[in-house]
């Protein structure tokens, strides 16, 4: 199993290629901690926001004399209200993730951890606070948090398929769920809707092995789950292929539909393609560059 230090190193390598990720600044009421996200309204912050005429109650100290001297009125200089956003990450640690069809590709769990940590590093660099659901790792900032994330990501779960863990997820926050989403769809949709109910928005990143996408099996075969608890025997594996692929497509459609209803984003990533592209997608999805939703 990969040591967390090497995971950290590789994640840093991946993250170094992208600009600092500024997660989309959205209206997150009730989260008052300062960060570098402009809230498009005046408030506490460093960046200039606007000049406004002095209103009663403004302290004289707030008057911007330089601006006021250019006109008759007196103006107050306002800064943009900046907050930091908390992003909670959930990475599927279940047995089904510990699969790779060939030595040329990493295990799905390996790729998922790498992507999650890379995203965490990017978010951290953008000033966000990143935490891990279900691990008692509340959102924090700084390099130490990245180190904690890296070691927390190395834990493994004995369960056959993982279900998103919503513990520690703050209302109105952001979330990134990385998994193969091959388990029961009910658990996934319940978790997603529950999160959406709390106003959490985020991304689903499905990580699949190429063998799961192509089903290159023939002949009499007994398929066993990684944990060994489930088995399915077939006499002609090649005849199952089409129906399996149908089911997989259905699963993806369901996930996409679920995301559409909850306002999340969905992406499917294969372990044989480059991790960079997936990270780029995460970067885009988290910063909203791929398509800004109408602000609330």
């Amino acid at each position: 199993m990969t040591h967390d230090a090497t995971l950290r190193t590789r994640a840093e390598t991946q993250a170094a290629r992208l600009p600092a990720l500024l997660a989309r600044a959205d209206h997150l009421a009730g989260t008052v901690l300062m960060g570098e996200h402009g809230r498009r309204r005046a408030g506490q912050g460093d960046d200039f926001w606007q000049y406004r005429p002095v209103q009663p109650g403004d302290s004289r100290r707030h008057i911007d004399w330089r601006r006021s001297a250019r006109s008759d009125a007196e103006f107050v200089r306002q800064h943009e209200w900046q907050i930091a956003q908390s992003v909670m990450i959930w990475v599927d640690q279940a047995a089904s993730m510990r699969f790779t069809s060939s030595d040329a590709q990493p295990q799905k769990a390996d790729r998922a951890r790498l992507l999650a940590l890379a995203a965490a590093i990017l978010l951290n660099r953008g000033g966000e606070r990143v935490g891990l659901t279900g691990h008692g790792l509340p959102p924090r900032r700084g390099a130490a948090q990245v180190a904690r994330l890296a070691s927390a990501l190395m834990t493994e779960d004995a369960a056959e398929y993982g279900t998103p863990d919503l513990s520690g997820l703050k209302a109105q926050g952001h979330a990134l769920f990385v998994s193969d989403f091959l388990g029961e769809i009910g658990g996934i949709s319940a978790a997603l809707t529950s999160a959406a109910d709390r106003g959490v928005r985020g991304c689903l990143l499905q990580v699949l092995d190429p063998a799961e996408e192509s089903f290159p099996y023939r002949g009499r075969t007994i398929f066993e789950s990684i944990g060994g608890t489930m088995a399915h025997e077939t006499l002609k594996a090649n005849e199952l292929r089409d129906r399996y692929l149908d089911r997989l497509a259905t699963r993806k459609t369901e996930l996409a539909a679920l995301c559409a209803t909850t306002g999340w984003r969905f992406h499917c990533h294969h372990t044989d393609s480059s991790a960079q592209s997936a990270l780029l997608w995460v970067h885009g999805a988290m910063s909203g560059a791929t398509g800004r939703e109408t602000g609330r």
Binding site: F99, L182, E212, Y217, G219, I222, Y244
Partner: protein, 920 residues
């Protein structure tokens, strides 16, 4: 049942092959074992049902494998046999007559013939057939008896060195019984007229099968002398593709041991049946030849024995009186020399000198009296087979030799004086030659009309005179007389050997007469008539396989038969010895060219070899077993149980490694031409400058001596190493005097130098120019040093610091003079963090040994000693100079100590700490 060259003992089993398609279908129906796979997507598979319950088919290639295995078993059990004995042949009954030509031409295939005869007789014995075995060259009565009887005699059956004559064939035909029998005829491949008759006779009595070998037959003709070389001609029976045979000339070496003297390749051009080549040998060697043989033929036709015709006789000429100066034509030997020169080796000298050389012929021209000793020696020589040829003359006529009684060395008694006819003071005409008498060796020679005899010595009339005269004059007086003495003969010409007494020496008859007397050699003419009746004794005879054998036990033959009669049991090919010469009778007969046999159409002709019966069943069954093994592996692979797990992969890697290890084992080290020193030895680089190398050698010699005397280092003699070829690993210190004359070493040499430096070696570079230059590229040597050292792996350098370990490894030194003094010496730089420890006089410097020491003080010159141990070169002046030399030696000692002990002295920094610890 037979199928091509394969027969089956149980052919009905092959019907089982028809069941293979059924097996095919059956095998397809059996499902292969399931493969177990880990697959996370199984959750999506749950609930999916197979469309039909028929499993996936076994792959076609696995089916084919199994089919082949089953087919192999079926065919193997059916008992296939390769090259089966035809059953009809094996079970034939009735009498069997086996005829072999058994001639010399059969000898080349005789082992194969005998093997086949053995098989055939064994078969006939098994079938109880009465058998008769005949040799055409020695026909016998046809006696049918048990084959085993013949088989027991088979080892003694051998071919004869002659060919069957028509009479022999007739005798065989007469002996044939009138019953029916099968005939097998082993032919030698030579065409003979009487074959057809015999074949017809045999065919009337039953089936005839001819067995004939396929080896080409090459024969060798006796050598002929052409242009002073031996011309050899080989003949082959059938024209064909280009072929080269090697003719070996056998003979004796000077000590008498038989050996091959020369070889000559002969090449038959395509389509030609003859090949000719010339072999040029010195006459001395030619005289030692015994036979020529075509290598590898193994029959008597390929052997040509040589006889006297090849060897030049040695003829000694002795004249009774000294040559009269300037009168060559009057010399008694002039005409003899002219007649004998082309064909003989002439010896001259006194009799006592010549006799030990044992010439074939001694000619005494007008020699009268001989001393008693000479007489006795000459007589002994003649009796041993020599030919003594005497000519008359004034001295002989005047002497008393053979006057009253016949002298042993004279054929007749002589009357005193002789006679002269046809002269101014005599009556009558000069006499002509009468026709040669019957028993004369000259019989048949033409007598020219112009031969006249004017003077002669006269023989005393005697009862035995008539039989000794071999040539006479028209008046009946003898001209040439002859007497046999022991094995030799004495011949007297009653005239002189020059033209004084007769014109005989001027005529061609003279030469022919000498030839007939076998005085000359090599003309290849037929035997003289007088030898036709003589008995010729075989000395060496040839066997059919061409091996020479002693002919002692064989009866002699007459000369007439020797040359003309066909070879047979009583006239074998070989070397025959007659009264005064040897004649070879060879198989090759120019009158009877050999021709290949032509069998009439429809004759069954077979070879001499028969393919051995080989049962194939075992092999097929083994192959089937192998296929089944492959099937096991393939089935395992199909069901995924052969999947290379980590363990098996490692195992496979280990197995592979074990297989390849012996291959990768290091080759034995190449032999070193340089001796590996057994003791420690100092070494210097050979620069190519002889003087420099010598000084370096002497310098290291001096240093070695100093080390030997003063320290416990006792080095061997110093060694000069060639950087390109020699191994450096044995030398801890390499002294390298730098000279621009030295070429830049090759890349390989630099690679080895770098290895040497990295593994603890040290090079002492000496630019030897400290008297004229400072360090750097300012001098030629320095510049060259830079070029030489550029490819070397040399760390940063610094001048030897005061506290370097080199200053105190044995002696305490502060400078390092050689023949020059003063220039700094450079060593590996100390690490920058080297610090002086409190209370210590020196820093803790680098841990290892400096790989290079560079200086220019010409140390070798200061160290150099000559053979007796005195310094070779002066250093400085007076006592100061000797002090400087001493310091140079001390530097050398320190250097070697540094190389051998490393930083041992540096470790003294730890002494206080150690003492401290001990104190506690």
């Amino acid at each position: 049942m037979t199928l091509g060259p394969i027969a089956f003992t149980a052919p009905w089993l092959l019907l089982a092959l028809a069941a293979l398609p059924i097996l095919w279908i059956l095998l397809r129906a059996v499902p292969p074992a399931p493969v177990r796979r880990r697959f996370p997507g199984v959750a999506l598979l749950l609930g999916l049902r197979d469309d039909d319950s028929v499993t996936d088919r076994t792959p076609w290639w696995l089916l084919l494998l199994r089919m082949l295995a089953v087919a192999g078993v079926i065919v193997g059990l059916a008992g296939p046999v390769l090259n089966p004995r035809a059953e009809a042949e094996a079970t034939r009954t009735g009498p069997l007559l086996i005829i072999t030509d058994a001639s010399w031409a059969s000898a080349r295939d005789w082992p194969a013939t005998r093997a086949l005869l053995d098989t055939m007789l064994a078969e006939a014995g098994r079938n109880g057939r009465p058998t008769a075995l005949l040799r055409l060259t020695a026909p016998d009565d046809v006696v049918f008896q048990a084959a085993e009887t013949w088989r027991s005699r088979l080892s003694g059956l051998s071919p004869h060195p002659w060919t069957p004559t028509p009479e022999m064939t007739d005798r065989l035909i007469d002996a044939l019984p009138d019953t029916n029998f099968e005939t097998r005829w082993f032919s030698d491949g030579l065409g003979r007229a009487e074959r057809q008759t015999l074949l017809t006779e045999l065919a009337e009595r039953g089936p005839v099968t001819i067995h004939e070998g396929a080896r080409p037959l090459v024969t060798l003709a006796p050598p002929v002398i052409e242009n002073a070389a031996l011309s050899l001609t080989a003949t082959r029976l059938a024209a064909g593709a280009e072929q080269t045979v090697t003719v070996t000339a056998h003979g004796t070496d000077p000590s008498g041991t038989p050996r091959a003297l020369a070889t000559l390749p002969l090449t038959f051009a395509q389509g030609e049946t003859e090949a000719t080549g010339a072999l040029s040998l010195p006459s001395e060697m030619r005289a030692r030849l015994t036979r020529f043989e075509i290598a590898g033929q193994g029959h008597a036709g390929a052997v040509a024995l040589t006889d006297d015709r090849l060897s030049r006789r040695e003829v000694a000429l002795i004249a009774g009186r000294a040559d009269r100066e300037g009168l060559e034509l009057l010399s008694p030997l002039h005409y003899l020399e002219r007649a004998l020169e082309p064909t003989s080796d002439l010896l001259s000298g006194t009799l006592s000198e010549i006799l030990p050389a044992n010439p074939g012929v001694i000619v005494l021209a007008d020699v009268g009296t001989l001393s008693a000793q000479e007489n006795a020696d000459l007589l002994a020589w003649t009796e041993a087979g020599g030919t003594l040829l005497r000519f008359a003359g004034p001295r002989l006529a005047a002497s008393d030799v053979s006057r009253d009684a016949e002298a042993p060395l004279m054929p007749v008694r002589l009357r005193s004086g002789g006679r002269t006819v046809g002269g101014a003071m005599s009556w009558g005409e000069p006499k002509k030659l009468a026709p040669f008498p019957e028993n004369s060796p000259f019989q048949g020679l033409d007598i020219p009309d112009d031969v006249r005899v004017s003077s002669q010595v006269m023989a005393q009339p005697d009862p035995i005179l008539a039989e000794r005269v071999i040539a006479g004059l028209t008046d009946g007086t003898p001209l040439v007389t002859r007497k046999r003495v022991g094995a030799g003969q004495v011949v007297l010409f009653h005239v002189t050997a020059n033209a004084e007494w007769s014109t005989l020496p001027l005529s061609g008859l003279f030469v022919q007469m000498l030839e007939r007397l076998s005085i000359t050699s090599g003309t290849g003419e037929a035997l003289p008539p007088d030898l036709a009746d003589a008995s010729w004794q075989p000395i060496t005879v040839l066997t059919a396989s061409g091996r020479p054998e002693s002919g002692d036990t064989l009866p002699g033959v007459t000369g007439a038969r020797l040359l003309t009669a066909p070879l047979g049991p009583d006239l074998r090919p070989g070397l025959y010895e007659g009264p005064d010469r040897r004649v070879a009778r060879n198989i090759h007969d120019p009158d009877h060219a050999l021709a290949p046999v032509r069998w009439p159409q429809g004759t069954s002709v077979e070879g001499l070899s028969r393919g051995a019966e080989a049962p194939l069943g075992g092999w097929l069954l083994a192959a089937a077993l192998g296929l089944l093994m492959a099937d096991i592996i393939a089935s395992l692979a199909l069901s995924g149980r052969l999947a290379p797990t980590r363990a098996t992969r490692t195992g496979a890697a280990i197995a592979l490694l074990a297989l390849t290890l012996p291959l990768m084992a290091p080759a034995p080290a190449a032999a070193q031409d340089q001796p590996i020193p057994e003791e420690l030895a100092l070494a210097h680089v050979l620069t190519g400058d002889a003087q420099l190398d010598e000084i370096a050698q002497a310098g290291l010699q001096g240093l070695s001596q100093t080390l030997f005397f003063r320290t416990s280092v006792e080095p061997d003699d110093p060694v000069g190493v060639n950087l390109e070829t020699d191994e450096l690993a044995f030398y801890p210190l390499l002294y390298w005097p730098v000279t621009p004359e030295q070429p830049i070493p090759s890349d390989e040499a630099y690679a080895r130098l770098n290895t040497y430096l990295r593994t603890g070696g040290m090079i002492l570079f000496d630019t030897r120019d400290a008297d004229i230059a400072g360090f750097g590229a300012s001098s030629r040597n320095g510049a060259w040093l830079q070029r030489l050292a550029a490819p070397l792996d040399i760390p940063p350098l610094e001048p030897v610091p005061d506290d370097h370990v080199l200053t105190r490894t044995f002696y305490l030194l502060q400078d390092f003079p050689g023949r020059h003094m003063g220039r700094p010496v450079w060593v590996e730089a100390a690490p920058p963090d080297a610090e002086r420890i409190e209370g210590m006089p020196f820093r803790n410097l680098n841990d290892g040994v400096t790989p290079v020491v560079i200086g220019g003080n010409d140390w070798a010159a200061a160290w150099a000693v000559n053979g007796v141990g005195n310094p070779m070169l002066p250093v400085g002046r007076g006592f100061a100079g000797e002090r400087q030399r001493e310091l140079a030696y001390r530097f050398g000692v320190n250097l070697v100590m540094h190389v051998l002990t490393g930083n041992y002295k540096s470790d003294q920094v730890h002494v206080p700490a150690l003492l401290d610890r001990l104190g506690q």
